[in-house]
């Protein structure tokens, strides 16, 4: 019998482990003041990946086919972005920041437009938002000299970035499948939110439903796997040392130790499990 307390302790242990691994890497990474933005971007992305893993780990009710891919897709995105930036960190870190600032300016301009027709009640809140947003941009670069790029931040598709970073398989086997859930395409919706009606008489019609997708620790292991991949890539490309992240193995061991007799095994019937298995077959990762 698994108690809430056991799960809570397990989640706390995962978070502590991830935070520790993140700290070790950030401490080891030396900034180059010729282009401090490289440090800023690279460590931020590392922290982002850790955040996604921690957030997912801390919400077992999300370890299912409806929700987990949203996190996992975001994690694959971070991995590809970081991999591509590290190929030419100086140029691409700047590019990454500039794009983000441009997006902030775009939102700012939309809010200013909204302000023109806003009522008295919302005006104050909007003005405050604009002021905060503007200050955030101006602290980095004056908003009125920021280009607004409405295309991809890198000027390339995610597939191209993956190809250049030598992780096309990761894109094909992991990023693309999880993108289906993130974008709610028929690939996902047709499995999780629709299915042929029971009776042959109405078989032409698929019934909307909310598929039963139970909590599956496999999703947690996938999150750990992608975090490992990112940490290991950082070890090799940024720290120039052998990859040393073993969070996935550690989590697997912890599950064995903590829940071996609880019967809390992964649900082999879950649709996502199949999707996850496919992702796990990517041997090139």
């Amino acid at each position: 019998m698994t108690t809430d307390g056991q799960i809570g302790a397990f989640i706390d242990a995962i978070e502590a482990r991830i935070r520790q691994e993140l700290r070790i890497r950030c401490e080891a990474y030396q900034p180059d003041f010729h282009s401090p933005e490289v440090f800023n971007v690279v460590t931020a992305l590392l922290a982002r990946q850790a955040t996604l893993a921690i957030e997912m780990a801390s919400a077992p009710q999300l370890w299912n086919g409806h929700s987990a891919p949203l996190f996992l897709r975001a994690m694959t995105d971070v991995h590809i972005t970081l991999a591509w930036i590290l190929l030419d960190a100086k140029t691409r870190a700047r590019q990454y920041i500039d794009h983000g600032l441009g997006q902030a300016v775009l939102e700012l301009e939309h809010r200013k437009k909204q302000l023109e027709s806003s009522d008295v009640d919302s005006r104050e809140m909007l003005e405050k938002f604009i002021s905060v947003q503007e200050a955030w941009i101006n602290a980095q670069k004056w908003s009125f000299i920021v280009d607004v790029e409405i295309g991809a931040w890198s000027g390339k598709s995610t597939r191209q970035m993956s190809e250049e970073a030598g992780i096309l398989d990761f894109y094909n086997y992991v990023y693309s499948p999880f993108s289906q859930c993130a974008h709610s395409t028929w690939y996902h919706v047709g499995r999780y939110n629709s299915g042929p009606s029971e009776s042959p008489l109405t078989r032409q019609l698929w019934m909307p439903h909310i598929a039963d997708s139970s909590t599956d620790t496999w999703n947690l292991q996938l999150a750990a796997k992608y975090l490992d991949k990112t940490f290991n890539m950082f070890d090799e490309k940024a720290l120039r040392r052998s990859p040393s992240s073993g969070i996935r193995d550690w989590i697997g061991d912890e599950i064995q130790i903590r829940f071996d007799s609880s019967g809390d095994k992964r649900n082999s019937n879950s649709a996502l499990h199949k999707q996850g298995e496919a992702a796990s077959k990517d041997e090139t990762e």
Binding site: R23, P31, F33, K113, F144
Partner: protein
């Protein structure tokens, strides 16, 4: 070069450009033409506009003024502005335009990029970060002011300017720390001799010593008779760090005062002139910044002028060896603490 960048345009702004502002319930439609921008111009423009019926002034104009004001304060650029006054008939058209104003309407779309008006009309602007580059270049003035007084800092500026005024073929104003990397042994010996004769070298070195011990490779270390010991005074480091927090805000009092110090060097060297009637002509008022309206105007002009200086007198950030050293050494003095990652 310095004269053409600073002196001429400021004068031109007020005397050489006729602004067609009639001040009779009119409406300015914005266009741009090349004109040097300064805070004075913006204030001048606003004050003229306020004489007209404010309700009839197109809001876009104020938006432009707001933007230009930021530029005037923070970036040395050549900005083009032409203000055309038309009558009420245009106002109607403009109001309807305003209602349908498109987001990023003034931006120029090039491929998937929207280029801001200030860039596509004026050309690329070199962005010099205040906190990243200009502030570390001017920080020694704050060290002196902190350790002694503003009066003593002014005296130092005057004496350095006196020394270089007659023999200087450099374009710099000797306000930035990087300027002192140009000095050879003889030049430095001559400068020290001059400062000694003026009876300020000892006091100057005493005021800089703690700072130079933090940053022993600072070009100003050559002012000392002995190399800095590099022994870090922890209390001073804390004090210095706290001062930097204030200095990071470009418009804080102490930040404006060190920018004013640089302008003062320009005056003293005879490389910078201001036309009577401009805010900068009331330069001594900066001492009261930001307590009085005039001091705020002077302060804004000081910031704008300091920007022009950085644009023409500082090396590119990535080639600014003093600034790169400053940040690297600062990291050694105060290593990043990542414990928060583990102990939120």
């Amino acid at each position: 070069m310095t004269r053409s960048l600073v002196h001429r345009p400021v004068a031109t702004t007020m005397s050489g450009v006729s602004l067609p502002l009639c001040g009779q319930g009119s409406f300015p439609d914005i266009a741009t033409r090349l004109l040097h921008w300064s805070q004075d111009y913006v204030i001048f423009t606003i004050s003229r506009l306020q004489k007209s019926s404010k309700s009839q002034v197109h809001s876009t104009f104020f938006e432009r003024v707001r933007v230009a004001r930021c530029i005037g304060e923070d970036i040395a650029v050549w900005v083009s502005v032409r203000v055309t006054i038309t009558g009420n008939c245009v106002k109607k058209k403009a109001n309807s335009q305003n209602k349908n104003r498109r987001v990023l309407g003034g931006y120029k779309k090039i491929g998937t990029t929207f280029v801001p008006p200030m860039i596509h009309r004026v050309g690329p602007a070199n962005y010099t970060s205040w906190s990243g580059q200009t502030m570390p270049e001017l920080i020694w003035w704050d060290v002196i002011i902190d350790r002694t007084s503003r009066g003593f800092a002014s005296k130092v500026a005057e004496e350095i300017a006196k020394y270089f005024k007659t023999r200087d073929d450099h374009e710099c104003w000797w306000a930035f720390i990087s300027d002192y990397t140009r000095l050879g042994t003889d030049d430095m010996r001559g400068l020290k001799g001059h400062l000694r004769q003026a009876n300020i070298l000892t006091h100057l070195n005493e005021s800089l010593l703690d700072f130079l011990n933090l940053y022993p490779a600072c070009p100003l270390s050559k002012l000392l008779d002995e190399p800095p010991t590099s022994i870090v005074d922890v209390d001073y480091l804390q004090r210095f760090e706290n001062r930097m927090r204030d200095l990071e805000g470009k418009h804080s009092r102490i930040a404006v005062l060190i920018q004013a110090q640089a302008i003062y060097m320009g005056f003293m060297l005879g490389k910078f002139y201001v036309k009577k009637g401009l805010a900068l002509a009331d330069f001594p008022e900066v001492e009261k910044y930001p307590a009085t309206e005039l001091s705020r105007r002077v302060g804004a002009s000081v910031c704008a002028t300091a920007n022009m200086m950085t644009g023409s007198m500082l090396p590119k950030y990535s080639e600014d060896s003093w600034v790169l050293y400053f940040w690297q050494r600062s990291l050694e003095l105060r290593p990043l603490d990542f414990t928060h990652l583990e102990n939120p």
